[in-house]
Amino acid sequence: MKYTEEHEWLRVEGDVVVVGITAHAAEQLGDVVFVELPEPETQVAQGDEVCVIESVKAASDILAPLNGEIVAVNEKLEKNPGLVNEDPMGTWFFKMKIDDLSVLDDFMDEDAYNELIG
C-alpha cells in the first residue's frame, strides 16, 4: 500500500491501481453523504479533480494520483456513501490503469504517511 500527500491510499491489483482515501482523511471529512464518481474509460492527468466527496461539513475533491485511465468506479458509494466512514481502508473509489507501475515507488509507504499525519 502506498499513500499520497492528499491522503489517498493506492493499492496495486495486477496492472491497475486501486484508489481510496485514508482513515485519517475520512475522519477529517466527517460523515460522507454523497460521492460523485468519475466516468469509467476516461483519461485523467495527475492532479485532475476526479471525485467529489460531500460530507455533512463540506465538499472536497479527490485528485487523480497519476496519469492514466479510469477503468472502474465503485458504484456502491452512490447508494451508500457512509461506507467511506465505516471502512475507509477497505472502500475503494476508482481503479486506474497506468503505463508504468514503477512510478508508485515515489509515493509514501505506511510509515512515511503516519509520520506526515503525526
Partner: protein, 372 residues
C-alpha cells in the same frame, strides 16, 4: 484577529473529545467523536446537550416601572412584548429603520425584569443598541457569570427532571427559576432544534458539575455546533448572518408569525418599531422575494451561496441558497433560499458548474415536536 475566547466548559469539551473550532470569536465544540450525523440523530431520538454559552445573556431591569421597560423594549421590535405573561418567553427580532433584521433573540418576562438571549456574533451590538435606546427606562445588564446549556430531544424532560423535577410541568416557552444543588437555574422550555427541550442558564461555578450530571445519564450525549446547525436547518429555523440579516426584512424571511396582531395594522399598538413603514407595507401587499425551502433531488447538498436558476439550461438566476446541507433525519439534502415570492415546483441549483433540480418545499423539513 483577536484572541479566541475560551468559555467555562472548555476543559469538559476537550475531555469529551470535542473538536474545538473558532465560532463568532469563541472556541466552541463543532463535534464530538460520535460525529455530526450520529449526534443529530441522537438528539432527535433521545437527548442532546449543547453548550451555547457563547450566546449573550442580558437582563433588563426597569429604572422606574416594568410598563415603561416593556414599552421601551417593544419599541425596538415588531413583536408584542406587553402580551407576554410573567413566566413566559417569546421569539423576537430587533429591526433597523430600513426594516432589516439586526438580530433575532428570545426574551422572557420574569416579573420584575426581562431576560434576553441574543446571538453571539451580535451580542456587543445588541447590548449597545439596547443601552442607546433604553437608557431612560432600563438598566442593561450583560450576564457574564453564567453558562448557557441546551438539552434537546424527546427524552430531555426525562433527563432534566431527575435533577429538577418541576421542569416536567413546564410547557413550550415557559420560563422558571429553580434553586437547588446547582445554584439558581434559569430554565426555559425551548430551544432551536425543532425538538422539545430546555435551555438552562447555570452559574459558571456549577456549570461543569451540572453538565456532567446530565452527561452520565444514558439518554444524554454531548452535541456540537455542527449538529446544532443541521437540526435547526431541518426545523426550518433561520440562522442569523446567513438566512436573515440587515438586508432581509422579517416578512421576506417568512417570520410574520413572530409579528403579533397587536403590532400589525389595526392592532392595539400598531407600528412604532424601527422599519414599521416597510414591514407593515409588506404585510399588506407582500414582498418581491421570500425565504423558501428547497429539497434538492439526489444526495448532493446545495450549500450556502449556491445560485438558483429557473431553468435547467439558460434561463435566469432567481435567487441564492442561504443555508443548505444534508438533513440526517430527512435522509436527503435540504436548503433555504430567497426566491421570487410565489415560486413553486422545480428550480435548479448550480453546484460545481452543473445545474441540479430541487423542489420548492414547505418548512419545517422535519416535523417539530414542541410540548405545547
Amino acid at each position: 484577529m483577536s484572541e479566541l475566547i475560551r468559555l467555562g466548559l472548555h476543559d469538559l469539551h476537550v475531555e469529551l473529545g470535542g473538536k474545538m473550532v473558532p465560532f463568532a470569536g469563541y472556541e466552541m465544540p463543532v463535534q464530538y467523536p460520535m460525529g455530526v450525523m450520529k449526534e443529530h440523530l441522537h438528539t432527535r431520538a433521545s437527548a442532546g446537550l449543547f453548550d451555547v454559552s457563547h450566546m449573550g445573556q442580558v437582563i433588563l431591569t426597569p429604572k422606574a416601572d416594568m410598563a415603561a421597560l416593556v414599552a421601551g423594549f417593544e419599541s425596538l421590535m415588531p413583536v408584542d412584548v406587553a402580551g407576554v405573561a410573567e413566566g413566559r418567553q417569546r421569539y423576537g427580532l430587533f429591526t433597523d429603520e430600513a426594516g432589516g433584521i439586526l438580530d433575532d433573540l428570545m426574551f422572557a418576562n420574569r416579573g420584575d425584569h426581562l431576560f434576553v438571549v441574543v446571538n453571539a456574533a451580535c451580542k456587543a451590538a445588541d447590548i449597545a443598541h439596547m443601552q442607546a435606546h433604553l437608557a431612560d427606562v432600563a438598566e442593561v445588564l450583560p450576564v457574564t457569570d453564567r453558562a448557557l446549556l441546551a438539552l434537546q430531544g424527546p427524552l430531555a424532560e426525562t433527563a432534566l427532571a431527575r435533577l429538577v423535577p418541576a421542569v416536567a410541568a413546564m410547557k413550550f416557552m415557559d420560563v422558571g427559576v429553580f434553586d437547588g444543588a446547582y445554584g439558581e437555574l434559569w430554565i426555559s422550555r425551548s430551544g432551536y432544534t425543532g425538538e422539545d427541550g430546555f435551555e438552562i442558564s447555570v452559574p459558571e461555578a456549577q456549570a461543569d458539575a451540572f453538565a456532567r450530571a446530565l452527561l452520565v445519564m444514558d439518554e444524554v450525549a454531548p452535541i456540537g455546533l455542527g449538529a446544532r446547525d443541521s437540526l435547526r436547518l431541518e426545523a426550518g429555523l433561520c440562522l442569523y448572518g446567513h438566512d436573515i440579516d440587515t438586508t432581509t426584512s422579517p416578512v421576506e424571511a417568512g417570520l410574520t408569525w413572530a409579528i403579533q396582531k397587536a403590532r400589525k395594522a389595526g392592532g392595539a399598538r400598531e407600528g412604532g418599531f424601527p422599519g414599521a413603514a416597510r414591514i407593515l407595507g409588506e404585510l399588506a401587499s407582500g414582498t418581491a422575494r421570500q425565504r423558501l425551502g428547497l429539497r434538492p433531488e439526489g444526495r448532493a447538498p446545495m450549500r450556502e451561496g449556491t445560485p438558483v436558476f429557473d431553468a435547467a439550461e439558460g434561463g435566469r438566476q432567481i435567487g441564492v441558497v442561504t443555508s443548505g446541507g444534508f438533513g440526517p433525519s430527512v435522509e436527503a439534502p435540504v436548503a433555504m433560499a430567497y426566491l421570487p415570492a410565489g415560486t413553486t415546483g422545480t428550480v435548479w441549483g448550480e453546484v460545481r458548474g452543473k445545474r441540479h433540480p430541487a423542489t420548492v418545499s414547505p418548512m419545517p423539513f422535519h416535523p417539530t415536536s414542541y410540548k405545547r
